[in-house]
Each structure stands twice: as C-alpha cells, then as structure tokens.
C-alpha cells in the first residue's frame, strides 16, 4: 500500500447524502477480476447527466471528494474504493461514513476524513464559488485546511500509523504466528469444519 502523509488538491463537491456503493460503482462493474480499470464506472449512472459535478470542466482534475453524510453505505464491495482511486481521488471528506467502506478505504490508502457538516458545507461553497480552491489534507498534523478553514480531525492511532508508513496488514498479523497457532490448538473440537461429510 502507498503511504499517505499529506495531500493538496482541488475539491469536488458532491451535494448528496447516503451515497451508496451501488452508486459509486454499479454491480455490473463487479465482474472484473482486477483492481484497476474501474474509473469509467465511478458514479456511472449520474455521469450520464451533463450537469453532474464530475462532468463540469471546472472540477476536472479534483482529487478531494467532499460528500454529504452517510457516504459509502450498502454493499461491502471494495471496488468502490478502487473506483475512487482509479479516477484519481486521494481523499474523501464527509460528516459520516459507512463502517465497511471506511475500513476498506483505509486499507487501500484512500484517506477518509470525518468533519462536522458545517465544515463540509463551507468546503462546498468555497469550491462552487471558485473551483480552483485547493484544500490540504494533512495526516501528520491531522488537519484539513482551505481558505478560511482550519479543522482538526481524529483518526484511530493505529490506522493512522499504518497509513503513514504504508504498512501491509497481513505481514503485521503474521508476526503473531505463535499466538495464532496457540489459539488454534485450544479450539473446542465441536466447532464446524467445511471438509465434506
């Protein structure tokens, strides 16, 4: 995983709440067996509308998605995170994220930041007034800054450390091999096994 320290980029304001993962990447895209090539599927249905924010030239090249509450609800598809990253987003800002989506994003190095709704609205207004406005998301100092905005955010220390270092979870877990083996040896024999009976 790529490490995340700090990122500065333009805002893409997505004035919608409850953006579910079916909207982020529709199911028919889930037939692919790779982690890349999902950028054209991102918000596919909404992109057919010329007025949709991703279709406005002024917002092209934006890398920080600022969305309404309950972003990433619904299906657990990690493809939603890959689609956002394939398209070029580095961070998503919202007042509330669905749990599985948040977990998936942090595992892939897409920084998801929880901010109070008034700050989200302020960022929407800033970028709608001047689409060139840049925002900085700094994981080292845990702040989001933009003209007139300087907001601290919290992130679980462990998740932050993994992101900052770009660490791979599996290698970290495998350092606990002896603990896992010990746990396995003590499991009761009545527990189910999938071996054919």
């Amino acid at each position: 995983m790529e490490a995340f320290t700090t990122h500065t980029g333009r805002v893409v304001p997505l004035r919608r709440s409850n953006v579910d993962t079916d909207q982020i990447i529709p199911a028919h895209w889930l037939k692919k067996v790779t982690r890349d090539g999902f950028e054209d599927g991102l918000f596919e249905a909404w992109r057919r509308d010329p007025e949709f924010v991703l279709n406005k030239p002024a917002h092209h090249g934006g890398t920080v998605l600022v969305a309404g509450p309950d972003f990433g609800t619904g299906s657990s598809r990690e493809h939603a995170v890959w689609a956002l990253q394939n398209y070029g987003f580095k961070a998503v800002l919202s007042s509330r994220f669905a749990d599985i989506f948040r977990g998936n994003s942090l595992k892939n190095g897409l920084l998801t930041v929880v901010l109070p709704q008034p700050v989200i609205e302020r960022l929407w207004e800033l970028s709608e007034t001047d689409p060139a406005t840049e925002v900085t998301v700094d994981l080292v100092t845990r702040t989001v800054t933009a003209p007139g905005v300087a907001e601290e955010f919290t992130l679980d220390e462990n998740a932050r450390w993994r992101l900052l270092e770009g660490l791979d979870d599996i290698s970290l877990t495998l350092q606990n091999e002896s603990h896992i083996a010990e746990f396995e040896a003590a499991r009761p024999s009545f527990l189910p096994r999938t071996l054919r009976v």
Partner: protein, 474 residues
C-alpha cells in the same frame, strides 16, 4: 459488570490483545463467492501465500449465475470469466466449492446455515455485507472487503476495532399479518440507514424469541441496512432444533458439549448496552419502502410522504431526490402504486418459509395482467424442497416464473433485471437507484405483500384480496 452476547463471542475469539491496537480475532468460518474474492486470491499468489485453513473456508457461486438454462454456457463472457476464476482459485488453493449445477449451490448466506456450518458463538465473515444474516444463530457475523478476505485467507484472523452494542427490544406479539420483513423495515425506518453505524445490534424481546430461525435470518440480514456491522439473536431451543441433524452440526457427545456452551451465550442481566431502542410489536403493520434507501419506508396503509415533512434538511433533500427517481408524488396512497414486476427471492426472503408464504397467497389465484413475477429460490436445496411440496406448481399456475437458485434480480448482475422505468415489488434488501437494473424502481416488501401485489398489480397485502380465504391456522 455482566457482558452482552456480542461481547462474549468477541472475547472468546481474541487471539491477541495489545493496548492501543485493534484486537486480533480468530475467524471460525470464511464464506466466499465469485465477486469479492478474485483480487484476494491474486494477492495471495503474488505474495506466495497459501490459504491457512481450507477446513474453515467454503465457496459458492451466486451473484453472476443465470437462473435459466443453467446447463448452457453462460452467455456473458465477463460473468463466465469471473466464475471460471473462482473455480480455478478454489482448485489451486484447495478450497471446497459448490459451483452452478451442484446440489449445495445457492446464495452464500442461505447455504451456510442450511449446511449447519453457521453455529452459535462462532465468528463468520464473507466479502459480502449481508453476512449479518448468520447472526440469527448467535454468531458474530460481519461483511468484509476484499483486502480483508485476503487477510483471512492468509491468516484466519482479522484485526478488528471494537464495536459498540445496541439492543433493539421488540416487546409483545406481532399482529397476525406482520412478518419479520415488516418488522426489520420498520426498525430501519425508525433508526435510519446510519443509525446503527459502529454498532452490533442484538434483537431481543418476546416478539423476537417467537420468530422461527428463517424469520430471524430475515431480521439479522437487514442489520446492515441500518448501518450496523452485525445483528445477533441469542441462541435458544429454536436455534438448536434447527441445527440438529444438519450435515455439519456436531453429533453425539460433541452435540451435548456444544449445546452446553451455546446456552451460556446470552446477555447477562447486569450487562449494559451503549444504546437501546424499544419497539412495541402490536403497533406494527405491513411495511413497504417508497424511496431509494431502505430507511425510506412507511406502513402500506399510508401515503408517500412530503419531503417537507422531514425536519432534517439532508433527509428532505434525499426524499426529494428519491421521489423524483421513483416517479412518485407526495400524498399518493402507497396502495395505489402500480408495479409491473414482482421478485421473490434473495438472502433476505428466499428460504422455504418465504416461498411457502408467498405460495399460500397465490394458491388458486393468478397474476394481474401485465405483471411478471420471478420466483428465485435461495438455494438448490430450497428449490428441491419447494418442488417436493408442489410450490413450484402453485407459482407457475398463477403465471409466475419458477427459476434456478441464485442472487438474480436482487442486484441484477445476471440477465434478471428491470428495464429503465420499470417498477418492482421485491423481497430483497436494497432499493438503491439502479440496483435491480439501470433506471429500475424498487419497493422492498415481504413475501406476502409481494404475492398480493402480483395478484392486484399494485402494492397490496393479503388482506386486500377480497376473496381471501382464512389462513389455515398458521
């Protein structure tokens, strides 16, 4: 202080606990399907890793599989590649697979319980958010992303940050015409699609204890639609009776040992939940959704709400956008909403009891003209049982299509889809924009409401069928 059910199961699975780090949890059962696993197996291959516990892992094909002509090669080459990839991965890594055509094939969340693999007090994961279904057995079961699928394949563990706990207590008795589906839709409308965020919900109370195992699965299945990571119900005699004799249930002395342990899996009297919601079962009624998220629902007897009736501005905006997408107007009675498609199936309502209750309503009746109805059993076993009971005949005689098992129109990854502007009454779990096909409009309903709707051509409950016979003592 006492512990909740969820906390007990959690504690029994901690492999390693270190201050300031997430707990490392052991996973008892890992379910796989074709959509969320290919990139995980790919990761294993790249890192030269094996599947640590093939004996705790099982795969089935469900999302992409066709429900017609299953003996012919799959027409869509991309779907075919995904299924072939799963078959190759399972063969290469030694994972048990139930492919299309196998008697144990079906929707992953129907297959696990019916094999007796889902057991009380276990941890169950799958790269699928509706893994919450398995919580009906008192298992701690949750959906994970593909990176986590790879993590579990490689280590049989997951680092997990602790959950908060919520009790949803349903007191009293459900009225005769109210099902588990109506109950959970009402719960979601009450707490909202984000209300369960960060929580494991335990459903309890008299009305829950009286539910069958299949109805409990319907309730736990939709926990994710309230944003919760998992839903659970304490195991009891109903649970044990369901499990006894299933292929993977313990036997003889091990059965007794298991039941003795399972009986300890109850929330202690002095345990505290972080949040509690109390619902009066007697006040519930058949419930349907009118919007584009599962929290946008109302009793069938009501009308489409006016966006202005919501106090929260983002809920107002969401309602406006939903009504526009759904082609509905505020004040329209829900009973007058006409549908052209009815779907009975999915991991929410594709089990044998669901098919029985839909068939009961349809018996001797026929579909309204212009309505097509798809009945898709949740698994091949469910289909075989239904055929044995003659339910397939009831459906086909009424004019419905009897299909092969799979996810089907729940998410429209196979050819079973709504056309733009088509409207369905669906027993599935998600009414998101385009979920059942581009531009398709979905109303979530119970199997009974689905069947009555198919007969009348508009949203309806069995009570609306004037010639309705008295239900025969159910």
């Amino acid at each position: 202080m006492g512990r909740t059910l969820a906390e007990k199961v959690w504690d029994d699975h901690v492999v390693r606990r270190v201050e300031g780090e997430p707990d490392l949890l052991f996973i008892d059962l890992h379910l796989l399907h074709e959509v969320t696993s290919p990139q995980a197996f790919d990761g294993l291959r790249k890192a030269g890793r094996a599947v640590r516990r093939t004996d705790l892992t099982i795969a089935t094909e469900d999302h992409n599989t066709p429900t017609l002509a299953i003996d012919k090669p799959i027409a869509d080459p991309v779907s075919r590649t995904q299924l072939e990839t799963l078959r190759k991965n399972c063969a290469d890594f030694g994972v048990r697979l139930h492919p299309l055509g196998d008697v144990e094939q079906g929707v992953v969340h129907v297959v696990g319980p019916q094999l007796g693999l889902t057991q009380p007090g276990t941890t169950v994961v799958c790269g699928d958010s509706h893994t919450s279904t398995h919580g009906a057995f008192g298992a701690l079961a949750f959906g994970i992303g593909t990176s986590q699928v790879e993590h579990v394949l490689a280590t049989q563990t997951l680092p997990m940050a602790p959950f908060r706990t919520m009790a949803v207590t349903v007191n009293g008795e459900l009225p005769a015409d109210v099902t588990a589906k109506d109950l959970i839709l009402a719960v979601i409308a009450r707490i909202g699609t984000g209300g369960g965020q960060g929580y494991v919900i335990e459903y309890r109370g008299e009305a829950i204890e009286k539910l069958s195992m299949e109805a409990r699965m319907t309730v736990c299945n939709m926990s994710i639609e309230a944003g919760a990571r998992a839903g659970m119900i304490a195991p009891d005699d109903t649970t044990f009776a369901y499990l006894a004799g299933r292929p993977h249930a313990p036997r003889d002395a091990e059965w007794d040992e298991a039941v003795a342990y399972w009986r300890t899996l109850r929330t202690d009297a002095d345990a505290r939940f972080d949040h509690e919601v109390v619902i009066d079962a007697a006040g519930l009624a058949p419930f349907v959704t009118w919007g584009t998220n599962p929290g946008q629902g109302a009793p069938l007897s009501q009308s489409v709400p006016a966006p202005g009736s919501f106090s929260d501005p983002s809920a107002q905006l969401a309602a406006e956008q939903a009504l526009e997408y759904m082609g509905l107007s505020a004040g329209q009675p829900l009973r007058e909403v006409a549908v052209d498609t009815v779907f009975v199936g999915s991991c929410t309502n594709g089990r044998i009891e669901d098919l029985r209750s839909a068939a009961e309503v349809l018996r001797g009746r026929s579909l309204a003209s212009g309505v097509r109805m798809l009945v898709v059993p949740g698994s091949v076993r469910v289909a075989l049982q239904a055929v044995e009971e003659g339910l397939d005949k009831v459906f086909t005689e009424a004019g419905a299509e009897w299909r092969h098992a799979g996810c089907s129109m729940c998410l429209g990854m196979n050819p079973d889809q709504l056309a733009p502007g088509e409207r369905s009454a669906s027993t599935s779990n998600r009414n998101f924009e385009g979920r059942q096909g581009k531009g398709g409009r979905t109303h979530l309903v119970s199997p009974q409401v689905a069947a009555a709707t198919a007969v009348l051509g508009h949203l309806a409950s069995p009570a609306d069928l004037s010639d309705v016979p008295e239900p025969a003592g159910v």
